[in-house]
Amino acid sequence: MAMAALRREGRRFLLSSASSTPITARSAISNEESCLFGARSISTQIVRNRMKSVRNIQKITKAMKMVAASKLRGVQTKTENSRGLWQPFVALLGDGFSVDVKKNVVITVSSDKGLCGGINSTSVKVSKALTRVYSGPEKETKYVVLGEKGKAQLVRDSKNRIELTISELQKNPLNYTQVAVLADDILKNVEFDALRIVFNKFHSVVSFPPTVSTILSPEIVEKESEAGGRLGDLDLYEIEGGETKSEVLQNLSEFQFSCVLFNAVLENGCSELGARMSAMDSSSKNAGEMLDRLTLTYNRTRQASITTELIEIISGASALEG
């Protein structure tokens, strides 16, 4: 140990006398390379710095994982409870994925923050695929984008189709009132025949398949129900009060939209946390592996320089003796 300290002292002295440049990690190595007198071993400074930074990054990713995991628990119960909101609607009105209409509006649900694996690019990809599926003569598809990350990806090649962007939705914990106000804004600002909501449905912490929910406008629902099929069964229900069928349908489809959107936003938020948890887990693991490799290199170099010095001393001593 004393030897190493001595060596360090000697080098510091040499460096300060030889060059007046400020000693940063990088300049230290270039000085070393230009071969100073007396500096025999490789500097381990850089490796040590690197190890420190990797360790700090690992600490951060571990903390992020913990935060995501603890948030996930609350959001997951909320999400599972919210599924009960839209299921009756699907039972009543069906999903209408295959209904072909002129004005499609794709609502892409994404997150505001990154570092959560591929969930944002998945929903963007699915939205783009939907645009292709519903494209055709006299048809148009518009986007409504929720979340910064989805916006950033869609701006690149289809910015002319973006109609509305919404962000900062997750500043407070998600609640129905908030999503209802949002749904109201979308209804008032966008003309549509069908809304296709694209989001990542939360199945488990590691699986969140992209999902599409369709909401048809009241006129289309009426047209479809006249055509028969599943929606034709609507006539079996008795409507109370003096409201006409179209009024009831309009109320229903508006309420359906806000419920489905609420569920979609929650599911996506839940998937985001799950994805972030697994992404941060694997990045902490990677940082650990990297740290192991660096430690190995560092120790080996240190050992090598000690061995060299020992050999020098012993051979010097034996030369004196001999």
Binding site: K159, I162, T165, E168, T177, A180, E243
Partner: protein, 70 residues
């Protein structure tokens, strides 16, 4: 059947069913006693920014914050 009579009026005022039901919900929440009232009020918080796009360019974003009745 009070709601039946009310329907055309809130429609005529430019409200959607969502706004209507939200107003009703907030009235019901207002009927709660403390401490349930403030707890329910925390579920009424609204915050997001929305911006319209025209010709591939975003317009100035508007912030909707804590104004469920607007």
């Amino acid at each position: 059947m009070a709601s039946t009579a009310a329907v055309p009026f809130w429609r005529a005022a430019g409200m959607t069913y969502i706004t209507y039901s939200n107003i009703c919900a907030s009235l019901v929440r207002g009927c709660l006693k403390e401490p349930y009232k403030s707890e329910a009020a925390s579920r009424e918080k609204v915050h997001f920014t929305i911006s319209k796009w025209a010709n591939g360019k975003p317009e100035k974003p508007t912030i909707r914050s804590d104004s469920p009745d607007q």
